[in-house]
Amino acid sequence: MTWLAPWAWIGLVAVAAPVLVHWLARHQAERLRFPTLQFLVSTSPVSVRRHRLRDLPLLLVRVAIVVAAVAALAQPVWVRPGAPAARPARAVVLDTSASMQRALGDGRVGAVVAREVADALAGDAGESADAASPAIVVPADRVSDGVAQAAAWLATQDGPREVVVVSDFQVGALVASDLEVVPADAGVRMVPIAVGGPVTAAPAPVRGRLRVLAGAEDAAAVAASEAAARATLEKTSGVFFDEKDTRRLFQVVLVFPSAPDRDALRASSQPIDTPGLFDWVADIRREFRRVTGGAEKTSGVFFAKKTPDVFSETGLVVFADDEPGSLDAAALMAAILSASDAPVLPVAEREPDTLAPSTLESWQRQSPVSIPGRSSGRSDGRWFWALALVLFGVEAWMRRRPVAQNVEVAHADAA
């Protein structure tokens, strides 16, 4: 037998309560109206001792009730010897939202730390002795969506299972109702990443100057340094690239590899701000469609490549290719960007509030513990509760014993 909450055995100090009651409760002696006391008081000694244990059987029953209740609180679990341990299937929801790009106290980027934590958690589950207990990492910009995906995955798993959410837990990123999709018998853990610094992922393009590069040498340079650019970007910004998710590329760079008149574009470049970048790009695309009559050929340039010096300079690099519309597009975008100033928001205003630790704790559920010989982590404390209930009934019966019964007992003793 093992105990899920062995600290509950501290409750055994409560055994002292019934002992003290039986030791000190002199006034609880039953009263018997008797014809005369002259023969009782003349007998010496007759008075009971003031402090001594009274009604030992009743005391033993009461002590047993306390012990049974404490044992139940300690959550006993009967195990089958020799059976392998089962670890929970674990789905790790990794918050990849923009707020995770902020730094921790030690200067590291929150997203990087979160990634490491998520990998470690997934690795723990993966090292389980039970091969049927896998783990996955679910990256998600919206934590609630990630939880839903994780819950769907857990629904396909057997045995103990749990969801671990790694996030900075901005207010509004996750609400209690989002956790309702998690299976009732699955554990829920919240791993907060204490980001607090300014966003470090894209400071350079945010406040840089628009710079347009053109020509074949730029395209070649982009192609050669693509891998290094990705690595550098991931390392420095915590932005992780997914081949299917190209939106992040928009956040950092627009490339027109062969724009002919880059000097003109460079001359007309203006500062832009990251929060408005996507809107600007959307406006640019709409404007392209309007100018080109709905041609999609220019749209491809917006999905073009990265460059290693994107973040090494304090400027947004815009490349244009040789296609006829590219120069126009670059020029148009530069014109649009230069025509309007995007609002520059202070970092403090953009920094979100995070959920209170007590809230996160209230959302957590105990993870099923892997116990050899058990398919689930539930305790067998109910048997001790049942025992305590039975003992309570016995105690009530013994407490209501009439004096007449004592008389019968005494008669039996005399016989």
Binding site: R26, A29, E30, R31, L32, R33, F34, P35, T36, L37, Q38, F39, L40, V41, S42, T43, S44, P45, V46, S47, V48, R54, D55, V403, N406, V407, V409, A410, H411, D413, A414
Partner: protein
């Protein structure tokens, strides 16, 4: 004439017994009572032929001398025995408070005695105390009076007040002739004074009978576990471990009961110890048989 104090079973069980009066009873009834006052209060009625077995003191020797015939004188009965029952109604008699109490037992005994005495033509009265006041029913005969006595017994409730030093001398005083003073009690109250008053009544010529009623639990103290004993009369309390006190208690109460038994024998009283677990009919039968055997 059946009342709650006199159950049919009790009457049926003792109806074949006769109350045997003692020497110093004034009246005589059908040869069963020997009067200490020959010729007093007796009125000559007639002669009848002597029959073997007749008391020779009633043989008329003058007629024998004159006629050489044996005649026995017969008298008209004018007196009988008067009995006064003193019933203890103190609080101690209320034990046990649930079930068959000592007072109930004593009441049945008193009723049975009254019934027997009246049925054989004698007079019976009642003296007790209730609410601090004496309750007195004069000694008379007749079924109507018996009903009065029984009704009075039935109305009694055990209370704290019962002073034998008042009840017993008043009972002896109010018996106009020498008769029977029967005290039914546990004799816990003022035992020394009670003995003095009983001897005084005996010296006045009354026959004295004592029925001491106790319960089995009083004698054995069979309780277990700590108990707070409360005196039914004084209300005082004491916390006792009966197991430890049992031996000493039994010795004390045994000495108390033996003291009453030997004291009654020494003073010439009839005495019977009755416990409430004993069948009332058997207890009364035993008492009357012992009384008859000693007279």
């Amino acid at each position: 004439m059946i009342t709650p104090s006199l159950s049919p079973a009790l009457v049926a069980s003792v109806d074949d017994l006769e109350v045997v009066a003692r020497l110093i009873v004034e009246g005589m009834r059908s040869g069963q009572h020997r009067s200490p006052f020959h010729g007093f209060s007796n009125e000559f009625s007639q002669y009848r032929a002597y029959r073997p077995g007749d008391d020779l003191k009633y043989l008329d020797w003058k007629v024998l001398a004159r006629t050489d015939r044996l005649y026995t004188r017969q008298f008209r009965e004018t007196t009988n025995m008067s009995a006064m029952i003193c019933l203890d109604s103190s609080g101690s008699m209320a034990y046990p408070e649930t079930g068959f109490s000592k007072f109930r037992y004593a009441s049945m005994m008193a009723a049975a005695l009254a019934h027997l005495i009246v049925m054989q033509g004698d007079a019976v009265g009642l003296m007790t105390m209730q609410g601090g006041r004496l309750v007195y029913v004069p000694a008379r005969g007749g079924r109507g009076h018996l009903r009065t006595v029984l009704a009075q017994i039935d109305r009694l409730e055990p209370a704290r007040e019962w002073e034998p030093s008042i009840v017993i001398p008043r009972a002896a005083d109010l018996l106009k002739r020498r008769g029977l003073v029967c005290v039914i009690s546990d004799f816990y109250d003022a035992p020394d004074q009670t003995r003095v008053e009983l001897r005084r009544a005996n010296r006045r010529g009354h026959d004295v009978a004592l029925l001491q009623v106790v319960s089995k639990e009083e004698v054995d103290l069979p309780f277990a576990g700590d108990l707070e004993f409360e005196d039914l009369e004084t209300g005082s309390r004491v916390l006792i471990d009966p197991r430890r006190a049992r031996a000493g208690y039994r010795q004390s109460i045994a000495e108390f009961l033996e003291g009453w038994r030997t004291g009654a024998r020494r003073d010439g009283f009839d005495y019977a110890l009755m416990t409430t677990d004993e069948a009332p009919s058997e207890a009364l039968r035993g008492f009357l048989l012992r009384r008859g055997a000693t007279r």
